[in-house]
Every structure is written in C-alpha cells, then in structure tokens.
C-alpha cells in the first residue's frame, strides 16, 4: 500500500494479529481489512460501524442484493480490488454466480427483479455522474422500491464510493480468485465490524 506507513505503521499488537491471521489462514490480511486498523479513531472505527450497518443491518434488501450493489458501484468506479471482493461476496451470498455475472454483463437483460434493476441503475448513475435527479428517483419508486429501500441503497453506495477511492489511492493489492473467495467467506460470516 502507499503511503508506506500503511504497510508497517501498526501497533505491535496489531502486527501480531496480522501474523496470526496469516498463520491460520495461509494468506495475508487483505489491504482493505488492514487499513481499518491504522489510526482507527480517525477512520477505521467509524468506517466499520457505517459499512457494517449498511451491509448487514436491518433492510428489506438481502445481503446478496447489497453486495451486488457494492459490486456495481465498484465497477462504475473501475476499482479492481472492490469489484473482485464484492462480486465474490454477492455470488456466495446468493449461492448463484450466474445471477451476479448476468447483472455485471448487462444490467438491462439480467434475470432480476425490476425494483433491484432500477435501484442498481440509479446507484450506477450516481457513481458515474456524481449526482442523480428526481426523475431518476421516481423511476426507482415506480418500480416498487420503498423510500426506505432507496435510502438503504444510498448508504451502500456511499460506503463503497469511499472505499473504492481509498482502494485506488492507497493501492490495495488485488487478490487472486481464491483470495477473493476466502475474503467473501469471511465477510459473510463476520460482516464488516
């Protein structure tokens, strides 16, 4: 990662934790997980709370839906680390790889619910263009999505617009397929806290 302090600037107890994780999992902790341990009072602790609430808190959206939103947002930002991480997590959450691959290949023809499609279209536009208008929101609401569901989707979109930016700025190391699968398993078991 860059700056260099994100590679070695952790407290001794944190370095020990990283070593234990590596020993038992056979893999180094992904950079996204390491980042939240650096000066956690500044970023890591509030980030974990916000992201966990958005991704695993009460919502009419399933965990798979929210991980899919994270993947779509990450793709809109062209963030390689987060695309890999949340594509894998969504696939495992749904236990349906073709569903996720179809959405990422072509949102308009993917075999998903109209409300989810309209919501994914809106968060994709918000991420690519930096804003959306009332017309965009009316289209989502007209597809049967509740106002609360829109707010929940916007929280997911916010969490990953921050994380995508940090992943590219701090240059998170992109994992191989097995690494992303292992990370997905962890995220589905433990969440983001």
């Amino acid at each position: 990662m860059r700056p260099e302090v994100l590679n070695g600037g952790y407290k001794p107890a944190t370095k020990l934790l990283f070593a234990v994780v590596r020993l038992f999992s056979g893999r180094p902790l992904p950079d996204a997980a390491k980042l939240v341990f650096y000066r956690p009072d500044f970023y890591g602790d509030p980030s974990k709370r916000f992201t966990h609430l958005a991704m695993r808190g009460p919502s009419a959206w399933s965990v798979g839906d929210r991980e899919l939103m994270a993947a779509v947002v990450s793709r809109a930002n062209a963030c390689a680390f987060c695309i890999g991480a949340h594509t894998a997590t969504s696939e495992q959450a749904y236990a349906d790889r073709p569903r996720v691959r179809a959405v990422l290949a072509d949102l308009e023809t993917a075999p998903i619910e109209d409300g989810l499609r309209a919501t994914l279209r809106m968060v994709d536009k918000l991420t690519r263009e930096g804003t959306v208008g009332a017309t965009d929101m009316r289209q989502v609401l007209a597809a049967g999505v509740s106002r609360q569901q829109v707010e929940d989707a916007l929280a997911v979109c916010a969490a990953f617009n921050i994380t995508n930016r940090l992943a590219d700025a701090f240059e998170f190391r992109v994992l191989d397929e097995e690494g992303f699968a292992a990370g997905a398993k962890f995220l589905l078991k433990r969440g983001y806290q």
């Binding site: 860059r2 970023y43 940090l166 590219d168 700025a169």
Partner: protein, 89 residues
C-alpha cells in the same frame, strides 16, 4: 465525519476541510486530492511523491486522502437524498 474534520490531527482542520470540499489545499496536494475525488484510478506514485517532496508526511497524506474521499461521497449522497425528497413530495 466529525472525527475527520475536527479535533487535533497531523493536518490542520482547515486543510482537512479544503480536502473534504475538493477545494484548493496547495499546489503539491491538489493533483492527488483532485484525483481522489473525481478520478481515483488515475492516482500514481508520482502524485504522492510530489506531496512528499513539498514536506507533507505520511500521516498527513493519510488524513487528507480520506477527507477527500469522504467529502466527495458526502456530496453525492446529499444530492441523491435531495432528489429522493423531491421525488417523494
């Protein structure tokens, strides 16, 4: 957001506020922070080197990059909530 903008840190509250707002922080930092806000995939080691050469330390860069990322996202989130409010009215 309060923890990022307020309190004693390695950068001044004014620097973090400017990074958050995607306003000018200084010529050595503006290319890096502007990319964090609008084109993060274009960030390179050279952007960090320019900032370091101007005297900015690792923790200062850590703080300002995060302030920029959170600020840009907050503007997007607020715009979307305003659109939702208008659509719901």
């Amino acid at each position: 957001m309060d923890r990022i903008l307020n309190g004693p840190r390695e950068t001044t509250a004014e620097q973090r506020a400017h990074a958050f707002e995607n306003a000018r922080v200084g010529p050595a930092l503006d290319p890096l922070l502007g990319k964090v806000a609008t084109s993060p995939t274009r960030i390179t080691d050279a952007d960090f080197e320019v900032a370091r050469a101007a005297g900015f330390g690792e923790d200062q860069l850590f703080e300002l990059v995060i302030a920029s990322a959170v600020g840009q996202t907050t503007r997007m989130y607020d715009a979307a909530l305003a659109a939702l409010e208008e659509a719901s009215g």
